[in-house]
């Protein structure tokens, strides 16, 4: 219980600040005050986490930090745990949440949903931060429920029948996934008598019950991460939600459950992981990359296209498991994947915001009817294009570096076939991005006097600016590779539980 | 004594499960609903027997709660299924 380490006394703030924000925005009655406090709390959150932001990485930040909530310590109480992996995700969450909060303040201005949006939004943020800090198997279950139910409620905020149906399906899938996860946790507790990640990492062995638990935990989390055969709920949910919600769902929510899968496979239950299992996950990921791109290409709606692109991009993340299984390259593979997560989060959020702006301005997002839309929405299309550059993986962008790292790892671990998948994925992504751009930049010669589409709601300049900031961030990430990698290195690697165990 | 109580518990339990027959057979919704009330009543009795068997007086709390709340479903049923009769 080394709570006195630098910065640690503030660790629970990552969860507590969003919870307080949720309560405050629930009790506020004025819509204006609600959005202002929303932005205020987002800024506060970023500054509370700032010690890690400005810290010279590797200097005196310990490889991993634990915080014993309630002062009891691991097996009896619940611990929080922070390492490089968690730091990167926490920071990118805080940054994204700030931008998306500003966007939402404009997006929901004057709408009655705002009263429910802000508390749910903050609950979701609390759940995300909680998952990144979690060090207890059952605590993760509760956090997953927070994330799941808050996401469902946020999707349903759109209020259309499609959105509510998608939300209901999302809710059922979420509950199913949580219960599978909980059964896995029950088996782990039965077998090892502890819920603490570090202790589990210490005790874990390769035996049938651990395999069963790992399978159940993974199945539950895969449902929530939407890896290919279990992705059926994602496109409709992400495409029908309000724009800022779509952005956070694609950018962060699916990553939270991926983060947990990575924790379980590479660290907590790593002795029980077999090469076959890793290969299988990698294979599913590869199929997801190809299939997601094809589905995105064939999508009729812009937001649906972006949602299918998420299915494809999630596939890349699962290449982590076969690449890391080779042993020597675990750290390198993890670096690549973490980089990929951040790059994708920024690019995809920007893309969803741009799509949301187009949807708002045109009143629809039917791709076929978006012919020549660049004439009316140059800014949104520009943002879409920049984010697309990162998604495809063209230099100079975060996506390029992420794919470059992945290719490097694939080659150096002698698994060149994953490199082929990465390249094909990039090529296919280019196809669907350019399909949209091509259509949008076509010059349409309209009969004079006919306004092409009625503008249903004006897009505030601030909304465009937020999307633009995210897109620029996605590109700028390509120039700051050093910084992110060293930040990740502060926690040395993902396997901090098994190293720092024995408390 | 313990054995005797255990046997009584077993008997009561089998009778409770026999009440399932009515839930399955119906024929009206009210029949099925009333069978759950049988479940509730027998459940209270069983909880009290278990309280004696395990020498855990606090288990009477559970019996109390069950006795209070088992009618809730029935009341909800009465309120929500006007059309069954």
């Amino acid at each position: 219980m080394n709570n006195s380490l630098f910065g640690t006394p503030l660790l629970p703030l990552a969860v507590v600040i969003p919870l307080i924000a949720a309560i405050v925005s629930l009790l506020l009655t004025s819509p204006r005050a609600r959005s202002i406090t929303g932005i205020g709390f987002a800024t506060l959150l970023l500054f509370a986490l700032a010690p890690w932001l400005w810290h010279t990485p590797g200097a005196d930040l310990p490889t991993s930090v634990r915080y014993a909530l309630g002062g009891w310590g691991a097996p009896l109480g619940i611990d929080l745990h922070l390492d490089g992996f968690a730091t990167v995700l926490l920071l990118s969450t805080a940054a994204l949440v700030l931008v998306l909060s500003i966007y939402s303040a404009f997006y929901f201005a004057g709408q009655s949903q705002a009263a429910r949006f802000w508390p749910l939004w903050w609950m979701l943020v609390a759940g995300l931060n909680g998952v990144f800090l979690a060090a207890d198997a059952f605590n993760v279950y509760v956090l997953l429920e927070i994330i799941g139910l808050a996401s469902v409620a946020l999707v349903a905020l759109a209020g259309t029948r499609e959105a509510c149906t998608a939300a209901l399906r999302y809710a059922l899938v979420g509950l199913l996934g949580s219960l599978c996860y909980l059964l896995g946790v029950a088996l782990l507790y039965r077998h090892y008598g502890t819920l603490d990640f570090a202790q589990l990492a210490d005790l874990a062995q390769a035996d049938p019950l651990t395999w069963a638990a790992l399978a159940l935990v993974t199945a539950g989390l895969l449902l929530k991460t939407a890896l290919l055969p279990l992705h059926f709920w994602l496109p409709s949910a992400h495409a029908n939600a309000p724009a800022p919600v779509s952005a956070v769902l694609s950018a962060l929510v699916v990553k939270a459950s991926f983060y947990l899968i990575a924790r379980y496979w590479l660290d907590i239950l790593s002795p029980a992981v077999t090469d076959l299992g890793s290969m299988l996950l990698g294979l599913l990921g590869a199929v997801a990359v190809i299939w997601g791109c094809v589905a995105a290409f064939r999508a009729h709606r812009l937001k649906l296209l972006v949602a299918y692109s998420t299915v494809a991009q999630l596939g890349y993340l699962f290449l982590l498991f076969p690449l890391a299984a080779s042993g020597t390259d675990t750290h390198m593979a993890l670096e690549a994947v973490v980089y990929f997560i951040v790059a994708h989060a920024l690019a995809k959020a920007a893309m969803f915001l741009a799509a949301g702006n187009i949807l708002r301005a045109c009143g629809h997002d039917d791709i076929a009817r978006l012919r020549g839309v660049a004439g009316q929405q140059p800014a949104s299309l520009f943002i879409f294009a920049i984010a697309g550059v990162s998604l495809i993986g063209l230099p100079p962008s975060g996506g390029f570096i992420a794919k470059w790292l992945l290719l490097n790892t694939a080659i150096s671990s002698g698994q060149w076939w994953w490199a082929v998948v990465v390249l094909c994925g990039g090529l296919l992504a280019a196809l669907y991005i350019f399909k949209v751009l091509n259509l949008a930049f076509v010059r349409v010669d309209l009969p004079s006097g006919q306004i092409p589409q009625p503008v249903s709601a004006p897009t505030h300049a601030g909304m465009t600016l937020c999307a633009f900031a995210l897109a620029i961030g996605a590109v700028a990430l390509g120039f700051s590779a050093e910084w992110l990698v060293t930040l990740l290195d502060a926690g040395s690697s993902v396997t901090t539980f098994s190293q720092g165990a024995g408390t | 004594m313990i054995t005797y109580l255990t046997v009584v518990t077993g008997l009561l339990l089998s009778m409770l499960l026999a009440g399932l027959w009515r839930v399955m057979r119906g024929p009206t919704e009210s029949d099925r609903m009333l069978a759950t009330q049988l479940f509730g009543t027998a459940g209270v009795a069983l909880l009290m027997l278990l309280a004696v068997l395990q020498q855990q007086a606090a288990l009477l709390n559970a019996a109390l709660v069950l006795a209070l709340l088992a009618p809730l479903t029935l009341v909800a049923f009465v309120r929500f299924s006007g059309e069954s009769r």
Binding site: Y67, I78, G193, T194 | R79
Partner: protein
């Protein structure tokens, strides 16, 4: 086959899955379940080290009931988040009618039927439930019972009240907002204040642990009861909403 996860509202007993898919699903689940069963029953349970630890530390927890000690002291973070889960659902199901000054008001629906049997049953049931709820809350410190149980019983009393159709609940009113968020708010406040004293979030000073836990429990009970009641009344439409505003649409 997974597309069929989209639920329907018409009661067709036959599932929409084709027969082949159903057989496939059934056999996969059976095989998986059998493997799981075998793996579980062939492996010994871990010795109850954690249970021993709990009983050792019980004296410093402030309560005598080990389950309450785990819920509200050792693993209070979980309970805090769990109340947040309830609050999320309550917020999601909130109405947005604007004029709801009071939480409970006499029903405006003058057709509310007066069923003699129902009302006289509830006349006994409701006060008794409130009594038992309070009793469970109080007894939770040293015997089975506690915030969840008390909250659920209180909520049940409220549900019974709603079922009489004599009262309506206004969940958009300021009072209701405070009521449903009080549990989480006071829980966090207690955690922060005690954290300022002891240096760790949610760590209660041993001498005040009992009092602090009771405060948290009372607040949690009230909020849990209010939230559960809100969930029911929103579903059963026993709350004040102007027509055409039900639903998540604006």
């Amino acid at each position: 086959m997974f597309r069929e996860m989209s639920p329907s509202f018409t009661d067709t007993h036959a599932s929409t899955l084709p027969r082949v898919a159903r057989v496939l699903v059934a056999s996969v689940i059976t095989a998986g379940g059998a493997a799981l069963l075998l793996a579980t029953l062939r492996t010994d349970k871990a010795p109850p080290e954690l249970a021993v630890l709990v009983s050792e530390q019980l004296a410093t927890s402030g309560v005598e009931n080990p389950v309450t000690a785990v819920l509200l002291n050792f693993r209070s973070y979980d309970t805090l988040l769990e109340i947040a889960v309830l609050l999320i659902v309550a917020i999601a199901m909130q109405p947005h009618a604007s004029s709801q000054p009071r939480i409970v008001a006499p029903s405006t629906n003058n057709e509310s039927a007066t069923n003699l049997v129902l009302t006289s049953l509830l006349r006994w049931l409701i006060p008794l439930s409130v009594l038992v709820g309070g009793y469970l809350l109080w007894t939770g410190a040293y015997a089975p019972g506690g915030a969840f149980q008390a909250g659920a019983v209180l909520a049940a009393a409220g549900v019974a009240l709603a079922l009489t159709e004599r009262y309506q609940f206004g969940w958009q009113s300021a009072g209701a907002q405070w009521l449903i968020s009080a549990g989480l708010a006071i829980f966090i406040a207690t955690g922060i204040v005690s954290g300022m004293v002891t240096g760790t979030f949610l760590q209660y000073p041993v001498t005040y642990a009992a009092t602090l836990i009771l405060v948290v429990e009372i607040a949690a009970t009230v909020s849990i009861a209010a939230i559960l009641l809100q969930l029911f009344t929103r579903l059963a439409r026993a709350d004040v909403t102007s027509p055409h505003t039900s639903g998540a649409s604006s």
